[in-house]
Symmetry: C2
Subunit: 359 residues, 2 copies
DNA sequence: TGGTCTAATTCAATCCGTTTTATAGGGAGG
DNA sequence: CCTCCCTATAAAACGGATTGAATTAGACCA
């Protein structure tokens, strides 16, 4: 098919056979123009500097040769890798996929790409991942891994890596944050329970070093008083992680204290699910004997054996907001830091019921 | 703290204030050595060429200045970005997080990083994502998005982008593939159902353009005959996607045909779940009236209202295998293509029961 | 002691694929 | 003929890896 393959063309064919990529230079040579001309012709913003005819030629040849821009070279030259790092504490927690989806959707639209890592809820691991991402010149970071005090995000600040958190907040408010109004959520839960006649309400809290755990705990104590209920510290236990193992241990701890209660507000859905299992093993049915409320509204909850009443949060929207926030911060590095707060919603299902007369 | 900030140092301070990154050159200048010395000192493989004392100095200063390697520059020079692209059809399908976790774990250990994208089960979207990844110089691709015939993976082959598929297979076997032994899975399911006395068994198949859908369908027809059961084509319907919507439509179609059946094998768990809902709405209880088997063993299935009997697949292991396969292929580009097949397992729960006498 | 040879380090220059600044060419208009 | 404008070019980065050449140091021998 190739009639005369001489000079650079020969060399190029050889290169392509060896798996080399087609470069800007290749398409420039093919047309006998300068690389800068090609660069401009292929850049929508600079295209106007080149005659339409030449642009058309260049686009045709580029297509024909299968040219794709080398983003590494672009990044090296311009300092922008068009990449956003995303760090997630736990891949297995079903809360994160929707957040991820929200993030991906907006990044995609802006021709950014995410690099995703998970850190198993360890600050050290998060820091290691952040350094890897830094070395890849990420333009910014979305952290849903942050603790209330967190040296990994301190590192981002020190290195001037633009960052936002999502679903987690720093006590210091040193970065943009997409957060949930946890106090409102707890108030919703408590108000629902109170309306069902519950008064002896327990709380299985999440880790206190994580903003959601801490804020929900604080809100619980606060709102119990606001609702005029007596606050019994013995009805509050702490799970050491927002997962089923943590929930199981904590629920057993609660039961072992021997204090009676008719309802429990769990730190999140996974803890709530574990709690229901523990209660059942102890011969307590949910919701007949005790009502349980979760938090987050993870997927498929409505199809569970005991469809869980929970506090729903706009997960995908949070992802969208996080991505928009980081892009916004890139455009406007000096803007004041802000918290964007999302309102939760009560989703009433089958795990809560009117308190029994006898209680 | 800085005593005399003159020459390069002044310039550097200025640069850092402007948010510039610390470069190899910066640490070289600080010590008055050549960049190549620093490069070698920081490269584990070449470190031996430099005196231990100097290495120590360099490491100290690099740490002090907060130097991190610019992977973009490295990639540009060496042609390797230490990045693997991963394309997933659907972020919301709970099958993928464990696969992703397996992939991440091995890539991490080899200091590779994944770029993750999803394609909503569209080949065109997958192709667009692949081109984006190509432009980012990914060293290889893991595709769990592939169809039986798929121009996006044809493109990878044409562009000499090393690729492997996971959970999906091409009819052509043109790339390495991590697949499930679907015939074995269907055999397991059917054998279980037969042992419970079922003879009139329906199949809600997944999309036929996807290997899992097609192979399970083929296996179903084959095994029905092997088990000596009469194969009624009217008891086979096709869902147009491996999700709940697809399952709902297909299950309604099956019901509308008016043929009686006592069990159904679904193309995957999501379809099975949708099927159970549809059956219930039609007044048919699972498993009392009809037994249902899923495929994939997605998380939390044991806690569902009707704990689903399903065919389990080693999701995380598949991720591990996929990552190892692509890394292996990078080392050894000329090796023959191979299929790695994973064996499924029957997980018996509550959605299957002995067929009623009357049937 | 001086000279030679070798091994161990370090240096300087080049390259990777792009973008971009400054510059040159060429045609139109005055 | 001289400007001015419109295109296109040439050349210099970007940050780090590579490598042949140069320097140094050390060892050995006469």
């Amino acid at each position: 098919m190739i009639i005369s393959a001489s000079g650079w063309m020969k060399k190029r064919i050889e290169a392509v056979i060896n798996g080399k990529k087609v470069t800007l230079r290749d398409v420039a040579n093919r047309l006998g123009v300068n690389t800068s001309t090609v660069s401009r012709a292929l850049n929508p913003k600079l295209k106007s500097m080149i005659t339409a005819e030449k642009v058309a030629q260049i686009e045709k040849i580029a297509e024909e040769l299968g040219y794709v821009q080398n983003v590494m070279a672009y990044a090296l030259k311009t300092g922008s890798s068009q990449t956003i790092g995303v760090i997630i504490p736990d891949l297995m927690n079903p809360v994160y996929p929707p957040i991820l989806k929200g993030i991906l959707n907006v990044l995609n639209a802006e021709s950014y790409i995410p690099i995703i890592a998970y850190c198993e809820n360890s600050i050290d691991m998060a820091l290691a991942e952040i350094k890897k991402m830094e070395s890849r010149q990420v333009d910014g970071l979305i952290l849903s891994s942050a603790f209330r005090e967190d040296k990994s995000v301190e590192y981002c600040i020190k290195q001037k890596l633009p960052s936002v958190t999502v679903g987690r907040a720093l006590d210091s408010h040193k970065v943009d944050q997409i957060v949930i109004d946890n106090a409102a959520g707890i108030k919703l839960a408590l108000s629902h329970l109170v309306s069902l006649g519950h008064r002896k309400i327990a709380h299985i809290s999440g880790p206190q070093l994580i903003s959601d755990g801490y804020q929900r705990y604080r809100a619980f104590k606060q709102e119990m008083i606001t609702f005029g209920l007596s606050l019994d510290e013995e009805l509050i236990v702490f799970a050491d992680a927002f997962n089923e193992e943590g929930g199981t241990v904590a629920a057993n701890e609660l039961l072992s204290r021997g204090k009676s209660f008719t309802a429990v507000i769990a730190g999140n859905d996974l803890i709530a699910l574990a709690c229901i299992s523990v209660l059942e093993k102890a011969g307590l049915a949910c919701p007949q004997d005790v009502s349980v409320i979760g938090y987050n509204n993870m997927p498929y909850l409505d199809q569970f054996k005991t469809p869980l009443t929970t506090i729903g949060i706009p997960r995908m929207e949070m992802g969208v907001m996080a991505a928009e926030a980081i892009l916004e911060r890139l455009k406007n590095p000096e803007a004041p830091m802000k918290d964007l707060v999302c309102q939760p919603v009560l989703l009433q299902r089958k795990s809560t019921a009117v308190v029994r007369k006898s209680d």
